[in-house]
Symmetry: D3
Subunit: 277 residues, 6 copies
């Protein structure tokens, strides 16, 4: 993650959470009070966001010393310490909630991704994310998917060509759409087409699509589609994958399984900051 | 929601999702192509974010006409149309994902809140949110909780005094902390203290806390705490409430049940945009 | 004051004052010229803004060394040195006006506040500020009031409930307004009502207001109001307090005297930077 | 004033004052309630900021109708109506304080300037402002000085060459400084030199300064300086002019009297918004 | 071009050019003066930036009426009118330079691109741009290349995989680099490798590169490379193409000729605004 | 150049070029790989932008060490090393294009300016720039002109009074325009008038213009104009100067030759970064 991108996101979050000032800390804790504490995992999971956690406090007060004991992508168990922190109590209290909000959310995404990746181990498929992310945090959400072992789909509308149902309607058919894309889009991008039927697969293959996305098909249909495509295009299965048996999907031979739920349905991992008393 | 705050968030999301331009639409769909479609619910739930949905398209292209058929706070059923949309196809396609990301997320929060509110109907308690929101989107998350029938806790560190465990450690006890807060903080804010034991409740009462937050106690302990406090302070139950039987908690007589999971563990509601073909 | 908030304000001020560059210094002073100087008080007063003063120069050029000799909240006399400064002459000249504009203004506010605080010494009352601040600088104005010994009212419209004359008109009476506020606003905020008459005081008490603001009353009326309220609510006197005898107001027994003039009618304290020649 | 500059300042002020939302209005006043009111002068003075006043409400809610009855630069008397306003009560309440903070402050500056301008009527001198403005609001402060009949000095460090005491020290003398400025600065700017003595006036004249600023001299000295300069340069009197008899200064024959106090020591004009009940 | 992206760029340019205000117009032209004029071409070329031209004035003052007579991508001749303009003279004068700076620059890029496109007409090659654009204006520069008939390369470092000389050094060879890219980068992006020799071409082909960029080769070498690659990858010729005979390059059979000079060496097209006197 | 202005421009450029991340480097180069390289001149020219070059990398990653071997304003020859660089390979690769885009462009402007300055050596004239700069980069473009030995005209519309043809039309003549400017504009600015004929020169002289700009005249006409003006005003020659014989123009005795092409028609200087392999 680029520091200047990370900093913009963190400062935005700090301004949101601190507003005109942390009244509780500044009215109850003397400025010279020091504190020591630790961030620890209240459940097991894949940690993601350690750099963000540290950076939050550096941006608040350079005197805060924070020492991470684990790295992103690492599996931690209940009770494990993630980082030690010490410094002016007011400054630590000021960053507590924001830092936790980041690391809990990202670790939640990474952990969920890791479960999906584990489920399809040994198959040719990889788990990918989608654009169904939380507005303003996509760069973080994507990073968390990577940390969980997944791969990233196109980042945004400028990062890839994906011709979906509504494009096909508006462009007047798959053939048209692919031909137009080939003529007008950068030659550095592959052309992906979302299909809902075998006849659309045929159209996409004839048009020369590089990637075919099978939208919301059942296992059996996916299996037949993979055979039909037969290596002429990369095959991506998508649509409600968050609720499917991923192993069965992967066993059909698809190359990519993209799962919106990785980022649109997030459960924060439980992590706490405790002060040494 | 204030328009200028909403606009900042939407523009940020659009810039994130569009980047240097929507390559697929601009290369496959002619600029003059018109489209018509509808946003519809693929599951039942409380709708939240209709204004945002509409505003996304106005900010992209004033020629897009979007007509909402439901209002925020309204329960919709599977298959129900949320809004009709028509206009230049490229502009609609450009806003599709961002508008859905907003309304799906907010409706998810509102729907979950509504379930919690329903669970405690008939008791004196109200359901409240926390600061465990997604960085940068708190104003939206809070609004969604309201739409689901919940109430809002302090918005941020400037919006209330909440003396938590780490403050108590740093301030050298509850008595000290409350006295300092009374002297130094604005007189417009109530003083809330988080407690973990009956002796802390005693301290908080002696110190004159306006609100006592019972942290992570079991039902029986909460019930005893409510009796001990006996109306001398507002009582708030908090801590892992997302996994508790809310009716039982409410029946103890607490005034407020605050639930971090309302906003930190979000399941997007399933909503789609379909073009008329 | 949070560093990232302070930095935004300072950078904004520097961009305003420097524009495309300091033509005078860059055309008349060689880049390698060093200077030494001191900031000193040309009149007595309470100093406020030393951190800002220093930060201005750090943001311009890290080679500037600035050593404060006094701290915020400290009373200085005519002729007293506030800070020593040395480093590249161009960089010091570039920050001179902006740094003085900040510290002169804030010290002016703090000094005026201190006079008001001194006037009511020995009474139960405290001096508070209002939202009548200079747009964009509220966080600084409030800090200066604190440094002068005053206390802060709600920071903004999100930081407290204050039902004023126009709200009462729009809500259809005090009773209604207070009941609505209690139902819909965060439970962490007290409810304050502005009153202009004894009958409104009665209404506010019946409605259960936490704080009653006596708007623009004369001393005798305030005294009667305090007796009428008789400890059932915090009593705040407000309205044209900048021109009143504060000791007389305080002696009525009010808890808070809020004074718009502390921040809306500011006289800068006279402070200069002189180079050693 | 350019709209996009004005909008940035207003939106900044609204975000500061509204924060996460106007809790009082949104909890006490129903969204459909309409209100009518008027802004009126509680003392006489020169009005400045009518466009800002109106724009505040347009930016909040286009449904608010505001009709100004006076124009900037106009003298109003106690009791005079400045503008009529009607529309959604919540939206008017939300903008009340910010709009007043702007117009009260600017009208205060304009009124004070007008007094100074009046004082020197009939002389050749004009009243000018300085860079002693409130950080972030210079463009407004300057506009207010203009509305009061004053003239503007250079806007910022990029807008003119003013060689002051500290520059003279750093540059090694007036002759050097002026020669350097002539060689390196844009040919579109006049060169002004601040002097404290007759010998410095001589140096400045020899060096060919276009403007000579007499710093902090008494009336008699100013008069002698004007004679010495004898039309070879524009003469500006400056330094503590806020406390001087301006007529006496002007009668010495100076061209410009620049007064920091116009903007650094501001008394807001008393203006109110009253709702029709 | 998306309106919200265009607006950010225009407002930035206006703030840069107007600063604290247009002193000349506001001091010499009365506010009520109207003007009429036309933008016209002082040389022939491909017009690009008509939307920007119009938007500049809308952002300054909605009362300005501007009627474009030509569209982007259109060839105009010396003397041809591009747009008519009328409205408040001050507002037109304020936007004159900025609007011209945009349309002159973009039309210059489009015109140069059109020359290159014309030169290779009838070959299989297309002309593409590079990342050698002016910082902050890439989205405009790219749009101008499109208007001139060229195609766009990857927009930025996130929009494509291009393994260049320095990556090959750092990754330890082409094979390694391509394998890593295939494993870690989004599957939606093609993999391009820059080569300087035939042996590197072999390596790239073996590694399965989708696109091979021939860096800075002479015509004969390019011709041999095209034969060697023989349709196994898209072939892009690059490096100093601004100074080469493009027809000869295209005749070798390359697919893409990318030319940094399209955007790094820009000659503004001569366009003027004249007022009707 | 002020650091905070420079930083805004660089961060904007980095965000534009990096987008959501540098996919090529992060997927092909391990994070721990170090690299060493040098920036070197592929043609001779005046270097400008060394500070920017260095700052780009500091903003990306403080571990990158960059050591400049030349200074701005220095003439370098083909093959000369401009700076050495070493550090994490990913971070260097990430900043390569942006840093080159800056230094190539600015060195191009400086070099072209130097040619113009050289051409008029020995005359009384100086070479100046105009407002025909690239939107958003004026502060850099101007700096480059200075580094090439040129001088700067007014920075923007707030930095000088230049009454051009369209102002004269709108103001109703030169006499009127100059009188208005003298009354209403800051006394620190000279008044410049653009003229197209001898009769306009007369009008400008009568009105007391400080500077007369001869617009687009041929050499002979300029020479006669200089004689006519005869030292009563500074004389500036402008209009299509990029295509004129500057020595001939200068020999007429004009004071200033302002050339739009210095910044509107830029040829980047060829500079490269090579890694040590």
């Amino acid at each position: 993650m680029d520091k200047f991108i990370m900093d913009d996101i963190i400062l935005n979050a700090l301004k949101e959470d601190i507003g005109s000032g942390d009244i509780t800390s500044s009215s109850t804790v003397p400025p010279e009070t020091k504190a020591e504490g630790k961030f620890w995992a209240k459940e097991s999971g894949i940690i993601c966001g350690v750099d963000l956690l540290c950076r939050v406090f550096t941006l608040i007060d350079k005197r805060v010393v924070i020492t991470p004991l684990v790295k992103d992508r690492q599996l931690v168990q209940y009770g494990e310490t993630i980082a030690l922190i010490s410094g002016p109590a007011r400054s630590i209290l000021k960053g507590e909630r924001v830092s936790l909000n980041f690391i809990q959310r990202l670790s939640g995404i990474a952990s969920r991704t890791a479960v999906a990746v584990e489920a399809i181990k040994g198959t040719r498929a990889t788990i990918a994310d989608t654009r169904k992310t939380t507005p303003g945090l996509r760069v973080l959400d994507r990073y968390a998917v990577k940390c969980g072992g997944g791969s990233n789909h196109r980042f945004n509308l400028a990062g890839g060509i994906l011709i979906k149902d509504n494009h096909i309607v508006a462009a007047g058919g798959i053939g048209n759409a692919v031909a137009n894309a080939r003529e007008h889009a950068p030659h550095t991008l592959k052309i992906e087409v979302e299909v809902k039927s075998f006849s659309q697969i045929d159209e996409a293959l004839v048009a020369g699509a590089d990637i075919i996305m099978l939208d919301n098909m059942d296992i059996e249909t996916i299996a037949r589609a993979v055979k039909l495509i037969n290596g002429q295009a990369i095959v991506e299965a998508s649509g409600n994958m968050g609720n499917k048996n991923l192993k069965e999907v992967a066993d059909t031979g698809v190359d990519i399984i993209s799962i919106g739920a990785l980022t649109h349905t997030v459960r924060s991992m439980d992590i706490s900051l405790d002060f040494k008393s």
